[in-house]
Structures are given as C-alpha cells and as structure tokens.
C-alpha cells in the first residue's frame, strides 16, 4: 500500500472494533484485574469442594437447608443463582465494564487509540468484546467445574439428567455478563465516579427494588436474568422463600428480548458518550 493510499485508508466500525479487540484481549487477560477475577471465580469452586468434603465425611444429612437435604442439582442451582448471578456476574460487570475506557485514561494510553483513524466508539466496542471473551473464558469453566463437583452428590445419574440445565446456565451467565458489562460500560463512559455508582446499582438498587412488587424492578438487569433461571429450587428452603418475593418473573422470550435491548442500548449510548466526551489526562 502506498503512503498516499494509506492516508485515505479508514477502517469500518466493525473492523476497527475487531482490531481494538485484538489489541485489548491480551492486555485484559494478563491484567491485575484478571487475578482478582480468577480469585472471584475460584471462590465457588472452593465452596463446592468444601461441600463435597463435608458430604464425604458425614454422608447422612450432612447438609440441610431448612431441615431438608437438598439434592446435588439443587445445591448447584443455589451456587449458580446466589454466587454467580447475584454476585460474581454483577461484580465482574462493575469492575470491568466501568474500566473499559477509564483504565486507558488512567494509564494515559488512550491518546494512542484516539489519535488513529478509527471511530472512538469502536474503541469502546472492541474493549467490550475483549471484556466479554475474557470473563466468559474465566467464569464459564468455573461453573462447569462446580457442576461436576456438586451435581453428583445426588448420584452420578444427575450429571446426565441436569446437563441441559448446565448448558442453559452457561448461556444465561454469558447473557448476564453481556448485559451487566454493557450497562456498566455506559456508566463508565458517562459518569465521573463510575465504580461507586456501579457498586450502588449492583448491590444497592438491584437487590433493593427486587424485594418490592411493582414495575420498578423492571429497571434492573437481575429481573430479566431471573426469567432465565432454569433451576427448580428445593422446596421450603430459605432460598425458595426468598424467591417467592420474585414470583413475578418474565418469560424467557421477554427476558432475552429485554436483555438484548438493554445490552444494545447501553452499548450504543456508551459509544456515543465516548465519541463526544473530552478526556483530560492528568499531567
């Protein structure tokens, strides 16, 4: 390519996004944040091993929830719901999503990306894709490990029977990571203290409004994720009791549609914010 041609050359939004993705993924995978991510996703595995050890040591009624011994599948469902959906996915969304652009600004490397002939929005989109791949690569294997540790507690046959639920869980978690990541990317692109706002949203607003009936809960990501939960929870357990509060759940189609709209809308607004915002680097 001649220099003159090169000066007229410009990547499409999609191509620029993929090149930013290529550049960002290794940076993200080997970042300090990924060590944190590995610790977070390792937690449920450690817990599953602990459960397995307790059951192995005292098999008869070693674990009881509200007086009933939950099956391996139910325990696994609780881990997925309480640890992954309610905690790990929002945490990862907050810490990665709000930092997509902020990290480059803090490291002062954003200048190199913003002075290349690509739309600024593609920088956000490429980094978002890198976030998604990075978190999916680390979270989903952890869920699979949990599945194979905990589900056999009800007999080895449980593994085959519950396998479709595992696949649905993996899909649901990927959708959750996509939705939370997009929402917090928007928070990061628009607000000055995105981490604080993100944490308040994920662990204040969402669990808070989910406890009340009415339409406000529709302003959460958790409400729609809940519509994708495939597990039958143990009857009369504490979890079951809590879930009674959430009896109004959307259908899977409604949930998927809403989550797709949330993801696409949040990303669009985030990219727009990045296009228009000035980034003043500290001297």
């Amino acid at each position: 390519m001649t220099d003159a041609t090169l000066r007229r050359q410009r990547l499409s939004f999609a191509s620029a996004t993929m090149r930013i993705f290529d550049l960002s993924l290794p940076q993200m995978l080997w970042s300090r944040r990924s060590v944190f991510l590995a610790l977070v996703t390792g937690g449920p595995v450690v817990l599953a091993l602990l459960i397995r050890a307790i059951v192995a040591a005292r098999p008869a009624g070693a674990l009881q929830v509200n007086g009933a011994a939950p099956s391996g599948a139910a325990l696994y469902g609780m881990i997925v719901w309480l640890l992954y959906i309610r905690f790990i996915v929002p945490v990862l969304g907050v810490f990665y999503g709000t930092a997509l652009i902020a990290d480059e600004v803090d490291d002062k490397t954003i200048t190199y990306l913003f002075t290349r002939p690509i739309p600024r929005g593609s920088v956000l989109a490429g980094k978002y894709l890198a976030y998604l791949v990075c978190t999916i690569l680390l979270v989903l294997p952890s869920v699979v490990i949990d599945y194979f540790i905990v589900v056999p507690l009800g007999g080895r046959a449980g593994i085959g029977e519950n396998f479709p639920a595992l696949i649905k869980d993996l899909g649901m978690l990927a959708v959750g990571l996509a939705a939370y990541g997009a929402v917090f990317a928007l928070v990061g692109a628009r607000l000055r203290r995105p981490l604080v706002v993100g944490l308040v949203f994920a662990f204040g607003w969402e669990p808070g409004v989910m406890l009340f009936p009415g339409y406000v809960k529709r302003l959460t990501v958790a409400y729609y994720l809940q519509g994708l939960v495939p597990h039958a929870m143990p009857d009369e357990s504490a979890v079951s009791a809590i879930l009674q509060f959430f009896s109004e759940t959307p259908t899977i189609v409604a949930s998927l549609t809403a989550l797709a709209l949330i993801t696409a809308g949040a990303l669009w607004f985030a990219a727009r914010a990045v296009e228009r915002r000035e980034y003043v680097l500290d001297q």
């Binding site: 220099d3 090169l6 620029a16 490397t109 200048t111 002075t115």
Partner: protein, 309 residues
C-alpha cells in the same frame, strides 16, 4: 491540501478547564515545514497540542488541521502522527508489536503493519530492541518508540509534544536530525519544548506561548522585530572600541554603551539601522578594524526572556 496551505489554523481559540484557562483567544497560522512551540511549563503548550490533535474541543473558536476541522474527524488521523508527552505504554508488549498494533488501526493488514513497524523502528534506531518488552526500555528508548508509532504511517504532519525529554545527548542529536530531515523531505512538523536550544536546533520558525497566549510567532528575527521596543544588545569586538562608541553616540537609536575588554556593548532600539551603520563603519575603517559582532538577542533565549517577562 495545496502547497503553502497552512497545516494548522486556530481562530480565536480558547480552552477552559472549569474556571481555569488553558488557552486564551489564540489566533495563529502554522505554515508547512518545521515549527517549534516554545514556552515554560504550564504555558499552555500541552493544551494547544491536545486541541490540534483533536483530543480536546475548543471552548471557543475553531481549529483546522490540514484544512479540515480536527475535532470529531477521525479520518484526518490517517494524515497526522502524534507523539504525546506522557510516558505511557502497554508495558508488556514489545516495541515491534506495539507499533504494528497501532499501525493496524490505520487499516493495513498484519504483514504490512509489521513491515512498516520494523521500518519505523529502524528510523528511530530502535531495531535492536524491537523484540524487547517496552517495560524493559530505557527512558530514551521509550521516547523513540513513541516517535516510531507517530511516524509509522508516514503522516503529512507530525506533532511531537516534548519529544526529546529523557533522551541522552546522542539520542537527542539523532532525534533532532530526524525532525530536521522530516522537514526537509517536505513534511510538516510541530514540535513543542520548554527548552530553548532544543527548538533552536530544529527550526528557526517558532511560536512562543506563555500563560495561555501566543506571545510571538515567526522566525527568530521576525520575533525580534516584534520586540524592538526592548533594547537590543550588540557586542562589538574592535580595534578601537572607544572610537566606535563616539560614532555610535551620535545616533538617536543607541540607548546605552558599556565597555568590556577590547569591546563595546551597545543597546539599540533600532537593530536594523544600527547594523547598517556598523557595516558601513567597518567598511570605511574610520574607527579601526571590527573583529567580531555578536548579539545575544539572536539567541532564542534572549527573545524568550523578553517576551515572557
């Protein structure tokens, strides 16, 4: 862009950071070639650099680069190379990988990006360290790899923000030569520095900036014309300094005279008239031989000090 078209035009540009003014009503035109932006730290150089690279939007006025508005115009970056001031990198990447990755954002394929990256690293004499991680680079090497990413796509306009910071004398000399060669090759360079002799060694076309204002622009002599109200000092080594002094005193433009060993130091309000008279006196030989004429005012330092006081 046609030849002679200004590479940068700023029209009544101001930039405020909240209540703080970064740049104040700047109107200027930067011609093709090498132009130095000179000013003390905090003068507004970096704000100006960020405005002309489209990182900041002017609070007032407009900035055009290569004839087009720069803000929100990413296509223009294909024609501009920017070397920022900050010492910031993807530390775990090698120099070659980093420059190639940024080159890929200009729309070329992997093979061409790698080839161009190698060539750019060669230009800044960093080929030997191309496969080392940037985190292991010395300060001077980091400056050079930053320059490599700025010139890898052969831009028409190179904008360098304090590019010589941290370089050792040899690297500094090479970088200066590179910048001058770039200008000689018909490309344009805007280079900022707070060190006078750095700019002076690259170009005589300068912009002086202080407290958010352009206090002077042009070449050193044009700037000197702007400050004619300031006394201009000329040091004349001569055979008969006192005889020369008597002649000088008869002219209205001479403000003061002092004597040094074998020389007379004159302060004049009209340097051009003074030099013409001195040339005539030297030619006639009426006041003895004139050995050497120097003017500290020809040094950028003197101009700068006058203007920023």
């Amino acid at each position: 862009m046609t030849e002679g078209t200004p590479v940068i035009q700023a029209n009544h540009v101001s930039k405020w950071y909240g209540q703080v003014s970064g740049l104040n009503d700047v109107t200027l035109t930067i011609p093709p070639g090498v132009t130095g932006l000179l000013g003390p730290n905090g003068a507004g150089k970096s704000t100006f650099m960020k405005l002309i690279t489209g990182q900041l939007r002017p609070s007032q006025g407009d900035v055009r680069v290569l004839g087009e508005p720069i803000w929100h115009n990413p296509a223009l970056y294909a024609r501009i190379g920017f070397c920022p001031e900050q010492d910031a990198f993807y530390e775990r990447m090698t120099g070659a990988d980093w420059v190639a990755a940024l080159m890929r954002l200009n729309g070329v394929g992997d093979a061409e990006a790698e080839q161009r990256a190698r060539r750019a690293l060669e230009v800044v004499e960093l080929s030997d360290a191309a496969n080392k991680k940037i985190g292991a680079y010395s300060k001077g090497m980091r400056q050079r790899v930053k320059m490599a990413q700025a010139l890898v796509h052969e831009p028409e306009l190179l904008i360098l923000d304090e590019p010589l910071t941290g370089m050792d004398p040899i690297a500094r000399r090479k970088a200066i030569r590179l910048i001058r060669d770039w200008g000689r090759a018909g490309k344009s360079v805007v280079v900022s520095s707070h060190i006078l002799h750095e700019i002076e060694s690259m170009t005589s076309n300068i912009l002086l900036i202080n407290q958010g204002r352009i206090v002077a622009e042009g070449n050193v002599h044009q700037i000197r014309d702007l400050i004619d109200e300031h006394p201009h000092t000329v040091h004349v080594k001569a055979e008969q300094p006192r005889a020369l002094a008597r002649e000088f005193l008869s002219a209205d433009d001479v403000l003061s005279l002092t004597f040094e060993e074998g020389a007379v130091v004159v302060q004049t309000a009209k340097p051009d008239a003074f030099y013409a008279r001195l040339t005539h006196m030297a030619a006639t030989g009426n006041c003895g031989a004139v050995f050497e004429v120097t003017s500290p005012d020809d040094n950028l330092q003197a101009v700068f000090e006058y203007l920023v006081k």
